[in-house]
């Protein structure tokens, strides 16, 4: 059947440790071979000379807003934005309308994705019914329907007893528990990181401790339940240190960092511009340094975007009224290349790992590798590409990005899902 050969690329495959010039042959949607001078007869050829060829990137934290909030994003538009960002797989958080807290919603998302998404979509189920933090959601049946993790992202479980029971159940179903770590009592009313900037701007602060106390709580609960606990969008230095400590103890604790939390600090905020408003908030420069250090030293397991679309009308109001969150699918790879690779903080291999084997291992996905017989998902990027991000040309339905107009070095060139080029940069 159909076959595609990617010729002359610089292959980086963390799963095998392979790095160097190679061809990749995909047949019938699966990786057929990786090696030099592969036979391209009868195949479509993609000339990747001067480009980096990696397993398809995975974003384990996005909000697709479907069902229920389709004016912000749909599975189709979110998936297109993902493809344009070099992602071949994305995991969508359950805070839709209705919340993905039962197998019917899970199946609906999977079916909609099958029909309309150009990339693979893996749903994450809610921890509690309606993410209300009280009764547990239908976790087992959602797992059977296809969820890859549970999370009450954005509405964190405040009751430690409920979280403990969720972790016990998650362990028995072999699902990771992803927590948006935020003590809602400590953060109540806050609009940005509590520090000199919030004091200067007269905005109520979200203290770093609101994140830290929940990371601490969940690490202790993970220890007592044996559950796999994953910290979503880690942003504070104490949290990074606690995850590092937990790993040293051999606990099954992992964490992800978003590009905005290592590319920007609260000092970079344009005053009262809601494109800089998200949770956790952009923190201090020393927190940013700690997140980067976590990435460099291996404490951080994955880079994820927390792509959170909101329509312009909701972001065009008083700062305190604006919803939290920014889009990030199309800028994540470029920001990572620019802020981590081009600054010589990490190697290309480590960078690709954070987008592939890192998230795949956390979620138990059989992806993020160029192993023969595996899914034919491949990302091709140019680490030297000079381009300018124009949010008005985004595939997302929303425009809430602080990176609009940024000149970036490095970016995706083509995204291949199951052997099909689903996006290619216009030249």
């Amino acid at each position: 059947m159909s076959s595609l050969v990617i010729k002359n690329g610089h292959v980086v495959d963390p799963a095998s440790g392979r790095e160097g010039p190679s061809d990749v042959r995909i047949e019938d949607g699966r990786i057929r071979a990786v090696g030099k001078n592969l036979d391209a007869s009868g195949a479509e050829v993609f000339d990747a000379t001067g480009l980096v060829v990696t397993p398809g990137l995975i974003d384990m934290h996005v909000h697709l807003r479907e069902p229920g909030i389709e004016h912000s994003e749909t599975i189709e538009t979110g998936a297109r934005a993902a493809a344009a960002g070099g992602f071949t797989s994305i995991c969508c958080m359950p805070n839709t309308l209705p919340v993905n807290d039962n197998a019917t919603v899970t199946s609906y998302i999977i079916e909609r994705a099958r029909q309309h998404a150009v990339v693979n979509v893996f749903p994450i189920g809610a921890i509690t019914r309606n993410s209300a933090g009280e009764e547990l959601a239908a976790i087992g049946s959602m797992r059977n329907a296809g969820i890859v993790a549970i999370s009450d992202d954005g509405r964190p479980v405040m009751n430690a007893r409920v979280m403990r029971r969720a972790m016990q159940l998650a362990r028995s179903f072999d699902l990771p528990v992803i927590d948006h770590c935020e003590d809602l009592n400590l953060s109540a009313g806050g609009d940005m990181h509590e520090g000199a900037q919030s004091t200067r701007l007269g905005l109520r602060g979200i203290p770093a401790s609101s994140e830290d106390v929940m990371v601490a709580r969940d690490i202790l609960l993970a220890d007592s339940t044996g559950a796999r606990f994953h910290v979503a969008h880690i942003s504070s230095r104490h949290s990074v240190n606690m995850v590092r400590f937990a790993k040293k103890q051999g606990l099954p604790v992992t964490c992800e960092a978003t590009p905005h939390h290592f590319a920007l600090s609260d000092a970079d905020i344009t005053a009262y511009d809601s494109s800089y408003k998200m949770k956790p908030p952009l923190r201090s420069e020393c927190d940013v340094a700690a997140v980067i250090d976590g990435i460099v030293t291996g404490t951080v397991d994955a880079i994820a975007t927390d792509h959170a679309p909101h329509p312009g009308s909701e972001k065009m109001q008083e700062f305190e009224k604006c919803p939290f969150g920014i889009i990030g699918l199309e800028t994540a790879l470029a920001l990572s290349l620019e802020k981590l690779y081009h600054t010589q903080k990490i190697s290309l291999m480590r960078l690709v790992e954070l987008f592939t084997t890192g998230p795949a291992r956390i979620l138990g996905l059989n992806r993020g590798t160029l192993a023969t017989g595996g899914p034919g998902d491949v990302t091709i990027f140019d680490p030297e590409l000079e381009w300018t991000y124009d949010v008005n040309r985004s595939y997302s339905k929303s425009r809430n990005s602080p990176f609009d107009g940024w000149q970036l070095r490095g970016g995706p060139v083509a995204t291949i899902v199951a052997g099909v080029v689903v996006w290619r940069r216009e030249t």
């Binding site: 520090g195 200067r200 008083e318 305190e320």
Partner: protein, 311 residues
């Protein structure tokens, strides 16, 4: 981008001095029999108050009228905002009627800054949330300068709910530009330690006696314990530890003055005796408010302002 007045922080010292100097010119106007000038004749100023205000709104309106401008005052309860119109739409609608400036008060910090990015009409901030209240700081400076030759070297204590005070922030920014020794005082939860980073010359204390010791100016802030999310102290305890009483003033410089942005709560943040104390300049502040706002309006709406705005 409109050239209005959003805050003190972004002004330079010469700009502040220019406004104060012009305000001094307008001071005698307030007491002369015929008070109306024609500096802003034919200009239209819209006062848009999304938050209750008596003195600031009246003061701006009187200032505009004494300069010969026409004014329209809108309060949120009587406006389309109460019908669910967004802030941007309300302002765009008003801007389409081509006023020469919009004076705006809003409960959200940064609301005027946000609008200034989208509107051509100059916006004058009459208080935004817990951020800035620039004309208050200007009239406070003018009031201090009525009694002191210069701001340099003075010690000013600002006492109360610093965290939520736009008056405190604007005063800190203004006084810091003149090398004033600024002491901020209040209960710890209303006194974020990062305050020392927002301007030069700021120190913090939770001890009221320490704050007042040697002060030239004691500036009390209004306390609204009922509006605080979690009040640090009961009203009774607040007055006991942070209320200004006559005996405190013995610690200050002999000729120290007492200021308050108003409205005052007697027995809440200052005793009745202090409010009526001869060195309390609270009503002088109100009087100077009109002169300062005349200077600000003239600067932003007057003939010279047009040249600057388009420059």
């Amino acid at each position: 981008m409109s050239v209005g007045l959003l805050g003190i922080e972004e002004l330079t010292r010469p700009e502040v001095e220019a406004i104060l100097q012009r305000a001094r010119f307008f001071q005698p106007v307030q007491t002369q029999p015929f008070k109306k000038l024609d500096t802003l004749r034919g200009k239209m100023i819209v006062n848009l108050f999304f938050e209750a205000s008596t003195r600031t709104r009246t003061s701006f309106e009187i200032a505009a009228k004494r300069l010969g401008a026409d004014t329209v005052s809108i309060t949120a309860s009587g406006s389309s905002v109460s019908k669910g119109e967004s802030l941007v739409d309300t302002l765009n609608t008003l801007a389409a009627m081509h006023p020469d400036a919009i004076v705006m008060r809003h409960s959200a910090s940064g609301a005027p800054h946000f609008l200034a990015r989208h509107l051509v009409t100059p916006i004058i901030n009459a208080g935004d949330g817990t951020h800035e209240h620039p004309t208050q700081a200007l009239l406070d400076a003018l009031t201090i300068l009525d009694r002191r030759p210069a701001l340099e070297g003075l010690r000013v204590a600002i006492i109360g709910d610093i965290a939520h005070s736009r008056v405190a922030r604007s005063n800190v920014h203004l006084l810091a530009k003149f090398g004033v020794d600024i002491v901020l005082c209040g209960p710890a939860s209303l006194l974020p330690p990062e305050l020392v980073e927002i301007a030069q010359g700021v120190s913090l204390t939770t001890d009221m006696s320490e704050a007042i010791a040697g002060a030239d100016v004691v500036m009390m802030l209004r306390v609204q314990l009922e509006r605080l999310h979690d009040p640090p102290l009961s009203a009774g305890e607040y007055f006991q530890f942070y209320g200004l009483r006559l005996e405190h003033l013995a610690l200050a410089k002999p000729d120290a003055i007492v200021m308050h942005p108003g409205p005052i709560n007697r027995g809440r943040e200052l005793s009745s005796e202090v409010a009526d104390f001869q060195r309390s300049v609270i009503l002088n502040q109100v009087e100077n408010g009109v002169a300062v706002r005349m200077a600000v309006l003239e600067r932003i709406v007057g003939e010279h302002a047009n040249g600057r705005a388009s420059a």
